[in-house]
Symmetry: C2
Subunit: 159 residues, 2 copies
Amino acid sequence: MMSEESNRFMLEAIRLASENVRKGLGGPFGAVIVKEGKIIATGVNSVTKDNDPTAHAEINAIRAACRALSSYQLDGCDIYASCEPCPMCLGAIYWARPSRLYFAATKQDAASIHFDDQFIYNEVALPHVSRSLPTQQMMRDEAMESFRLWESSEVKKQY
Amino acid sequence: MMSEESNRFMLEAIRLASENVRKGLGGPFGAVIVKEGKIIATGVNSVTKDNDPTAHAEINAIRAACRALSSYQLDGCDIYASCEPCPMCLGAIYWARPSRLYFAATKQDAASIHFDDQFIYNEVALPHVSRSLPTQQMMRDEAMESFRLWESSEVKKQY
């Protein structure tokens, strides 16, 4: 699995991360998406630049790759991330369904420079009543009506 | 915490979810973001319409609310989601740091109409070597250089 080619793609993700810091554009995170041996999209952290808390390197790269492929799925793609994806990005990666994920620094490393990745991993694993974010369930019956509409819909695009 | 006002906002999130299905635009999911008693942004699932696997209702609503506030943080905001957020959206909610989350249908309900939320919750909780997504760590030393750059940067915007 590891190869010179993999090293080259990961080095590019890391180079993008460092460049992002040097330019003062965002956090030290880069990502590269590869299909058939070619980089089809890249992303860097642009949360503060874009006023978008979802603009992590992986999310930006996934959105760019999907635009490039005109698809909401990254079939046959590999994702290289300079740091272990946070739960948001890992969730996005699962929804995008690439073939493989490579990462370099760990979530503990991210915590060491004061990013909340490890904290959010802990929170996601808790039942909602135990999380630090005050969370309340309500109106499940009313919401199930939307789900029934979906199940009986003849115009839906299942995914 | 629960109030007539909360009911009204959740009903709007659910209405958006149902409308999205009726129009054939995406999955049965809607979200509403409220600040100081007013809806400042809404979102619906637009994954297939926009070819964007990250375009869940909550992510779309968070991005719209942050645009409206010109901020990457949702200070003092409440999020109403017609379904329990998936790990991607829950992660995004933590990064956005709203005051409170309300949800209606559960992740088990989402699984019952064939969405992967529960599966992804299970995967996120596993060590990466045990996940169904093939995942490989590599080049941590090289990536740590980006982190050291971040720590010593004088132009960074910490967040």
